[in-house]
């Protein structure tokens, strides 16, 4: 079945997964979000949980409600989301990572940016 972790509330985990799909361009700007029902069936989640996840994305300014049509990805959402994720990375994840790299004596030349 779907794997959810025990670190965060389910709606938050779904919001994160949907945000990742936006960043990957799987759901494009100006496009309709999948319906609550479709998401609930796909992720095997209660529809209320799905609604909360969509609400969380809406509160981040990523979605817009088109009357009678449902939720759409707001133009500029991608930029906004990427900026938020970058800020989060630089503020919270990078300091930890940098400390670890320093401890291991790893510099930029060892990290091979270009070759995956």
């Amino acid at each position: 079945m779907q794997a959810w972790n025990d670190k965060q509330a389910l709606y938050q985990q779904l919001a994160d997964r949907l945000a990742a799909r936006l960043l990957d361009g799987e759901i494009a700007e100006g496009q309709a979000m999948p319906s609550v029902r479709a998401l609930a069936g796909h992720y095997l989640l209660n529809p209320l949980t799905v609604s909360r996840a969509l609400q969380a994305l809406d509160e981040q300014g990523l979605l817009e409600n088109r009357r009678g049509l449902g939720l759409y990805v707001r133009p500029g959402a991608l930029q906004r989301l990427r900026q938020a994720e970058r800020d989060h990375f630089l503020q919270h994840e990078w300091p930890v990572l940098r400390a670890r790299l320093r401890r291991l004596g790893l510099g930029a030349e060892q990290l091979q940016w270009e070759n995956p």
């Binding site: 025990d6 509330a9 069936g41 529809p47």
Partner: protein, 297 residues
């Protein structure tokens, strides 16, 4: 506030008791279930789950009051069954029949059954209309059962251990069909199960029974607010234990404690907030760790 007929709960129990001889299988339960919910009914064997479900569908009599879809399940059973669908844990379909014959049979039996809808739902499964029940796997039989039941224009669906004995894939298809075809925000489903972990994400509410009594009935959203699970390491174990958690248990990479309500800030600061799981909560509230977190998965 105005209370029209639609504001009434789908189901209301007040002081409901079901007694077999001197044993109280269901002991003085009072609760409301509104429309549009997915309620998980959890309990050990003998906790009273099946008795409660049987009382709801009018198969056994109870004391106290019970109203289902505004009806008395004993006195108005025929009327009730037009808007209620029930798959008991011992559900069987006639082995000699073809699936298409079952669809015809249901059309004749149930005034709100749509044969067209049943055929549409069956197309989602790997079962063919010409297949005979006796040639179907257990998982397929359960799928047929759900398709037949979901084709009834009912408002309340009762499932007693619906996926018992099914493999993972069949259970997944079953739940997909349930979410897609049943959960429309209006209809309610009550599911009793042992497989707590795999239905947790599907539920809107959980109801826990222990020895006939209701030990917890809460929405999953409220549950996350009320109960606090805290992951911590061995060094803080004593201090955490001193704060009287409901339960202490092991998690990947360490230990955890479950609190009813927020522990003091200094205790909270010793660990990392985790999502409280239904299994742990169930163990904590019933003190009988029989439900395995990996059972059947």
């Amino acid at each position: 506030m105005s209370h029209t007929i639609t504001d009434q709960p789908l189901l209301r129990a007040q002081g409901l008791t079901v007694q077999y001889g001197s044993k109280r299988a269901v002991d003085n339960l009072s609760f409301d279930i509104p429309k549009g919910r997915v309620v998980g009914l959890l309990g050990h064997n003998g906790a009273g789950k099946t008795s409660l479900l049987k009382a709801i569908v009018g198969l056994i009599a109870g004391q106290g009051s019970l109203s289902v879809l505004g009806l008395d399940p004993r006195a108005q059973r025929v009327e009730l069954l037009q808007s209620l669908a029930y798959i008991p844990d011992v559900a069987i379909l006639p082995r000699w029949a073809r699936v298409s014959e079952l669809v015809d049979l249901m059309s004749g039996l149930h005034p709100r059954f749509s044969a067209e809808r049943a055929r549409t739902l069956l197309r989602r499964t790997s079962v063919g209309l010409d297949d005979k029940v006796k040639n179907l796997s257990k998982g397929m039989v359960v799928q047929v059962h759900l398709a037949l039941v979901a084709a009834i224009d009912a408002r309340l669906l009762i499932l007693d251990e619906p996926t018992l004995g099914l493999d993972v894939l069949s259970r997944k298809s079953f739940y997909e069909m349930l979410i897609d075809e049943w959960c429309d925000g209006e209809r309610t489903v009550i599911i009793s199960t042992h497989q707590v972990e795999e239905i947790e994400a599907l539920l809107s509410d959980v109801m826990m029974l222990n020895e006939g009594q209701l030990v917890l009935y809460i929405s999953l959203q409220d549950l996350e607010q009320r109960f606090v699970a805290l992951g911590h390491d061995a060094a803080t174990a004593d201090a955490i234990a001193a704060a009287h958690p409901l339960l202490r248990y092991r998690v990947q990479g360490g230990q955890a404690a479950l609190f009813d309500g927020k522990p003091p800030a200094d205790v909270l600061a010793m660990g990392q907030r985790l999502r409280p799981s239904l299994v742990d909560l169930f163990v904590a509230l019933t003190r009988r760790p029989e439900i395995s977190r990996t059972q059947g998965v």
